[in-house]
Amino acid sequence: MSAGLYATLGIDRGSFGLDVALTVEPGTVLALLGPNGAGKSTALRALAGLVPLDRGSVSLSGRCLDDPDRDVFVPVADREVGMVFQDYLLFPHLSAADNVAFGLRAGGLGRRPAREQARTWLDRMGLSELADARPSAMSGGQAQRVALARALATSPRLLLLDEPLAALDAGTRMQVRSDLRRHLADFAGCTVLVTHDPLDAMILSDELVVIEDGRVVQQGAPGEVARAPRTEYVARLVGLNLYRGCAAGPRVDLDGGGTLTTAEPRSGSVCVAFSPSAVALHRQQPEGSARNCWPGIVGGLEQRSDTVRVQVLANPPVLADVTAAAVADLDLTPGAAVWASVKATEIRSYPA
């Protein structure tokens, strides 16, 4: 076996079962993306050794860490993993430097060299001034970087990140995300990242694994998954309108009702997808070249960074990204009657 992480995770928790296979090469980042309760965190805890497997196995750098069939279970402390928890879990009674030095001291390093290494890590994270600060005095972004430094300081072979950005507000999130991406690029070991935010997954990972109800529903490079989502959840997650239907030439009759016209003729069972930004909204029935045009009412509005995502209840239902100015001009409020239109050339279809 080579240097990477090979895991087949099988865990039973009453009615919930997790069955996920993961392979991560050293120096790459795998993102586990899924809704709450999909089993992402359980998978991460199993990799860390905080939850034993019922089935399957975990091996890291050729060393078997967990295999119930062979009665192998390496306890957490001996696994050479580093973990960043969702709310960081920095030890509240220790300073930033002592938090980072904790793993080094546990590994048998003396007080003084451990402190020096901890300071080097804090310098690298741009946190030199915070060395003596307690976690309660840190901002979310600072705490996140201290937690990352603490996990990396022990030179783990496997880095586990549990929703590393979920606890941050939108302002710091962008900055911390790009910092995290930089630090992950410098990390030579394997990284597994759990998130429910598609943007985090897209930006931070080399390989994306989408799980629902404890099963992998799709996996591949982030771009591939976004361009060809396989389930409605993935489509909604990566920001696409996705429908299943039956194609006859350019015309697709959708399973859920409604009809779309595509540019590429196909036949049989297909998925059709288009981006919310390809959807235009109007208060009156528009005249023009758009082949697809249908009425509906506004179900809800959601502020994104620079656009507003409008949920339109129609046949088919559709998500549209429009500018804040358009929301004001069209007076889009929940319950308003609108027309949605999409050009046929914006719609991609692929065999289901």
Binding site: A77, R79, F85, L89, G103, A106, L301, Q303
Partner: protein, 285 residues
């Protein structure tokens, strides 16, 4: 990170005044106020009587007398030793009750709390039957090691620890159950062994609970009377602690008894204040 525009309007439209404030404003029913005032007076007036009737002028003299000084010193030494003993044995017991999963855990927990509700005199009798010269264990202590516990200073410590330990165990167990165990998970992922995790993570996290338990335990040990006098007797300078001295002095030298009571009252107030401070810092972190 996202704001749900669809839910915003009706929140803004709702008037901020009136309803909720009026709904909360409740008058005090006189039927409850009268007994409440009475209860407060009932708890406070005896202490007030103690302060009012204290022989303030001769107080320094009384407190500096040899008997009182002896009892005071003995009480502090014994209560501190008992607290230390409770910490050494009680914290591990609390840890087992909070963390270990074994059959009969609930029963063990119930048995641990028995001394809380047991009349202390009964505790003293029970200790005699176990550790007395002809007790279950005491006979061997006497025969093999020549050790006789009853009516010695160590007996005072044992009697006090027996009565006070449940306070510590309950407080520490509660702190352990309230502590976020994921900090221990985090320490484990950093390669820490279980004993290192206990010393460097668990103990500091529950430190406020341990101090609160220790203070309660000390206060209980300091005031212990029934078990002590039954198991350890009342020998001046050896087993005659402050509460016993108070009881005896009340017949022979009432002013001295009042003076000693004042000291014990003072200690209780200090304990209460220190507990409140610890609880405040405990909840702030």
């Amino acid at each position: 990170m996202r704001t749900q525009a669809s839910t915003a309007p009706d929140q803004h439209d709702r008037p901020a005044s009136g309803r909720s404030a009026r709904g909360r404003g409740t008058g005090l029913p006189p039927l409850l106020v009268a007994p409440a005032v009475l209860a407060f007076a009932f708890l406070l007036l005896p202490l007030l009587a103690l302060v009012v009737r204290a022989p303030w002028r001769s107080l320094p003299e009384l407190l500096l007398s040899q008997e009182v000084g002896q009892a005071l010193r003995l009480s502090l030494v014994c209560a501190s030793s008992a607290t230390l003993l409770c910490l050494l044995l009680g914290v591990p017991l609390a840890w087992v009750l909070a963390r270990a999963d074994f059959p009969g855990r609930k029963l063990v927990r119930a048995l641990v709390t028995v001394p809380l509700v047991l009349p202390p005199v009964v505790g003293g009798v029970a200790l005699l039957l176990l550790l007395g010269r002809r007790g279950l264990l005491g006979q061997y202590l006497d025969a093999w090691f020549g050790v006789t516990l009853p009516f010695s200073t160590p007996a005072v410590v044992i009697a006090e620890a027996f009565v006070a330990m449940p306070f510590l165990v309950i407080a520490v167990e509660g702190a352990l159950r309230g502590a976020d165990r994921r900090y221990e998970d985090a320490a484990a992922t950093l390669g820490a062994s279980r004993s290192l995790i206990f010393r460097r993570v668990t103990l500091p996290l529950i430190a406020p609970g341990i101090s609160a338990g220790a203070v309660l335990c000390f206060a209980r040990a300091l005031g212990e009377f029934g078990a002590t006098i039954t198991f350890a007797g009342s020998f001046p300078g050896v087993t005659r602690t402050m509460p016993i001295e108070v009881y005896l002095a009340l017949e022979t030298d009432p002013p001295a008894a009042i003076a000693l009571s004042l000291v014990l009252l003072g200690v209780s107030v200090v304990v209460l204040v220190s507990l409140r401070d610890r609880w405040l810092t405990g909840s702030a972190t």
